[in-house]
C-alpha cells in the first residue's frame, strides 16, 4: 500500500474548483503512475488549464485533495514546486533576453552553480536545436523555437513531473512531431508527463493513459484502446464486385443482405484477429469472392462524440474548421 502510494506521481481525489458561481471542475479523481505519460483530453473550456493550474500550485482548489510528487499542493507548495516543471499554453520566455540568457536565468533560479548552469544551458541549446540562435533575443524566435526554448527552460531544473498544457497548440506539423519526440525521450529518461491536449491524435500517439474531461467532469479514463472499446461500431467492411457475391456472403455470415443497391457489406466484429479470421473462414467455405476488406475501429473522435455528445469542439491537429464527426473513418489494414 505504502509503495503504491510512493509510485504515484499525481493523486487527486474529489477535486472541485469554482470561480464565483461558475463550477469549472466538478469532482475529479486521478491517479498517475510515475514514469508514464498521462493525457487530459478535452475541448476548449473543459477545465484542462484550470486542472494544470491547481496541480502546479498556481491557484488553490475549492475542495478535494491534490498530491503531487507525494506532497499536498495546499500544505507544501514549495516541495511540490521543487519537483515539477510547467510549460503552459502561453509562452513563458523572456523576450528581451537571448535564448542563452533565458536558460541561465533559470539556472540561477534553480540555484545551480555557475559552471553547472552554463554546461546545462549549452546541453539544452544543443538538444533543442537552438544553439545557432542562442545569442539572439527570444523576441526574434519563431513559434516553434519559442516552444522549444520554453520547454528547455522548464527542463533546466530536471523536473520529476512535467506539466505540459497544450504543448503543440499552434505549431506546424513538423514542429509538432519534433515536440512529440522530445516528450517521448523525456519519459524514457524517467520523467512523468502530464499533458493536456485538445488533439485526439496527440493523446493517441503519446499517452499511456488518457482521461477525457468534459464540462468539469471526467467522462472516461483508460488507455487509448480501452477508450476505443467503449464505443460500439467496430466492424469489418466487405466490398464485392457484383450483387450475387454480396448476397452469398450475407447468407454465409448469417446477415440480412442490405436493402440498397450497394456492393458493401458491414459485418459487426470487435476488431480482433479472431473475429476477422472467423469471417474469412466462413467466406472461404462458401467460396465467396471478396474484392476488398477494411476494418473499422473507432478512433478517439468517435470516443469523444459518444462520450460528450458534442464532437465539433474537438479537433485534429491541422483541421482548419470544425467538423470531424464524419462517420466514415475506415482505416485500411
Amino acid at each position: 500500500m505504502r509503495n503504491q502510494k510512493l509510485a504515484l506521481a499525481v493523486s487527486v481525489t474529489g477535486l472541485r474548483k469554482s470561480f464565483g458561481d461558475t463550477t469549472v471542475l466538478d469532482g475529479i479523481d486521478l491517479n498517475i503512475q510515475e514514469g508514464t505519460i498521462f493525457a487530459l483530453l478535452g475541448p476548449n473550456g473543459a477545465g484542462k488549464t484550470t486542472t494544470v493550474q491547481i496541480l502546479s500550485t498556481l491557484i488553490p482548489a475549492t475542495a478535494g485533495e491534490v498530491r503531487v510528487a507525494g506532497h499536498d499542493v495546499a500544505a507544501e507548495p514549495d516541495l511540490v514546486r521543487a519537483a515539477i516543471g510547467v510549460t503552459g499554453q502561453f509562452s513563458a520566455v523572456d523576450d528581451l533576453l537571448t535564448g542563452q540568457e533565458n536558460l541561465l536565468l533559470m539556472a540561477d533560479l534553480y540555484h545551480l552553480n555557475r559552471q553547472e548552469g552554463r554546461r546545462r544551458a549549452a546541453e539544452l541549446l544543443d538538444q533543442f536545436e537552438l544553439a545557432d540562435a542562442a545569442g539572439q533575443t527570444a523576441a526574434t524566435y519563431s513559434g516553434g523555437m519559442r516552444r522549444r526554448l520554453d520547454l528547455a527552460m522548464t527542463l533546466m531544473g530536471r523536473p520529476r513531473i512535467l506539466f505540459l498544457d497544450e504543448p503543440t497548440t499552434g505549431l506546424d506539423p513538423r514542429s509538432r512531431r519534433r515536440m512529440w519526440q522530445i516528450i517521448r525521450d523525456l519519459v524514457a529518461g524517467g520523467t512523468t508527463v502530464f499533458l493536456t491536449t485538445q488533439y485526439l491524435e496527440e493523446a493517441d500517439h503519446l499517452a499511456d493513459r488518457i482521461a477525457v474531461l468534459d464540462q468539469g467532469r471526467l467522462v472516461a479514463d483508460g488507455t487509448a484502446d480501452e477508450l476505443k472499446r467503449l464505443v460500439p461500431g467496430s466492424h469489418i467492411r466487405l466490398q464485392f464486385t457484383e450483387p450475387g457475391e454480396l448476397r452469398a456472403a450475407a447468407r454465409a455470415l448469417g446477415q440480412a443482405p442490405p436493402d440498397d443497391q450497394g456492393l458493401t457489406l458491414r459485418v459487426p466484429a470487435d476488431g480482433g484477429v479472431k473475429s476477422l479470421r472467423a469471417v474469412l473462414d466462413q467466406l472461404d467455405a462458401q467460396s465467396v469472392e471478396v474484392a476488398a476488406l477494411t476494418i473499422h475501429t473507432p478512433d478517439l473522435d468517435d470516443v469523444f462524440l459518444t462520450l460528450t455528445g458534442h464532437p465539433g469542439r474537438a479537433r485534429h491537429p491541422g483541421d482548419a474548421s470544425t467538423d470531424d464527426a464524419s462517420t466514415d473513418k475506415d482505416s485500411p489494414r
Binding site: 493550474q53 502546479s56 500550485t57 498556481l58 491557484i59 514549495d78 516541495l79 514546486r81 521543487a82 515539477i84 516543471g85 510547467v86 503552459g88 502561453f90 509562452s91 513563458a92 520566455v93 523572456d94 523576450d95 528581451l96 533576453l97 540568457e101 536565468l105 540561477d108 533560479l109 534553480y110 540555484h111 533575443t137 527552460m153 522548464t154 531544473g157
Partner: protein, 261 residues
C-alpha cells in the same frame, strides 16, 4: 541554504534580469528622462523669466534654483510610469506563471523590480541634477546635506516604486499601466515645485500645502539651498514611509491574489 538567503539570491537574480531589460530597452529610460528634462528646459527658458520676476528678485541663484529641486522630484515621479509598465508586462506575459510554479522566494519577482527601478530612478535624478547645474543651478549644500539629499531622493524613489508596482499589478494592460501613475506625475505641479503654494488660489493652496510632494520638495530645497525647512523634513519622511508601506502592502496583496490570467 535558508529561506532568507534564497530570498536574497533570487532577488539578486531578478535584479540582474531587470537591469538587463533596462539595457536592452533604452527607449524606456529615455522616456523616463524626457519629461523632467523637457520641463527643466521649458521652465528655465520659456516661463522662467516671468515666474522668476513674479517670485521676486531676492531669491538666491534666480529661478533655476527655485526650479531645480522640483524638477528632481519630478524626475523621480516620472519614473513611476516605467516601473508600472515593466511590472505589468511581466504580469501579462506567461513568464510570471513560470516564476510562480518554481521553488523560488515569491517576493523576489517584485523586489527585483523595485531594486532595479530605484537604481534607474536615482540615476535619472542624478542626471537631471547635473543638467540643472549645467544650466546655472548652484546648490550650496555641504557633504552632510548632500548625503541627506541622496537619502531623501532614494526614499522617495523607493516609496513611489512600490506604489507603481501596485499600480502595474492593478492594470489589465501595459497601456493602462502607463496611464495609472500619471497623477503621481502631476502632483508636483500642484505643489511647490514651480511656484510657492502661498501664491495659489485658496482651495488649491490648501491642497498644495498638505499634499506629499510639497513637503518633500521644500525639504530638498532646504537641503540644497539652505532655505528654512521647519517641520517639512519630518512630514516628508512620514510621507515616504507611509507611501512605501501602502504601496508594499497593496502590491503584495495584488501579487498574491492575481491568479493566472
Amino acid at each position: 541554504m535558508t529561506t532568507s538567503s534564497y530570498a536574497i539570491r533570487d532577488s539578486a537574480t531578478m535584479l540582474r534580469r531587470n537591469l538587463r531589460h533596462i539595457q536592452r530597452y533604452p527607449g524606456m529610460t529615455i522616456g523616463v528622462l524626457a519629461t523632467p528634462v523637457f520641463m527643466l528646459l521649458l521652465f528655465r527658458y520659456v516661463f522662467g523669466g516671468t515666474l522668476g520676476a513674479g517670485l521676486g528678485g531676492a531669491r538666491p541663484g534666480g529661478y533655476i534654483s527655485y526650479l531645480a529641486p522640483g524638477i528632481i522630484v519630478l524626475a523621480v515621479s516620472a519614473a513611476s510610469v516605467s516601473t508600472a509598465v515593466a511590472i505589468n508586462m511581466d504580469m501579462t506575459s506567461g513568464i510570471i506563471n513560470r516564476f510562480r510554479t518554481m521553488a523560488i522566494a515569491r517576493v523576489s519577482v517584485l523586489t527585483g523590480h523595485v531594486l532595479g527601478s530605484v537604481l534607474q530612478t536615482v540615476a535619472a535624478a542624478a542626471l537631471v541634477t547635473a543638467l540643472a547645474v549645467a544650466l546655472g543651478f548652484r546648490p550650496t549644500a555641504g557633504p552632510a546635506a548632500w548625503v541627506a539629499v541622496i537619502a531623501l531622493v532614494t526614499a522617495l524613489a523607493f516609496a513611489l516604486t512600490w506604489l507603481s508596482v501596485a499600480l502595474g499589478l492593478v492594470a489589465k494592460t501595459p497601456e493602462s499601466a502607463s496611464n495609472l501613475p500619471l497623477p503621481l506625475m502631476f502632483l508636483p505641479f500642484l505643489g511647490s515645485a514651480f511656484v510657492p503654494a502661498q501664491s495659489m488660489a485658496p482651495g488649491l493652496r490648501w491642497f498644495a500645502e498638505y499634499q506629499p510632494f510639497t513637503s518633500i520638495i521644500e525639504t530638498l530645497r532646504g537641503l540644497l539651498l539652505g532655505t528654512p525647512i521647519g517641520n517639512h523634513a519630518l512630514i516628508a519622511i512620514a510621507w515616504c514611509a507611509g507611501l512605501a508601506l501602502v504601496g508594499y502592502l497593496w502590491a503584495r496583496a495584488r501579487y498574491n491574489r492575481a491568479a493566472a490570467r
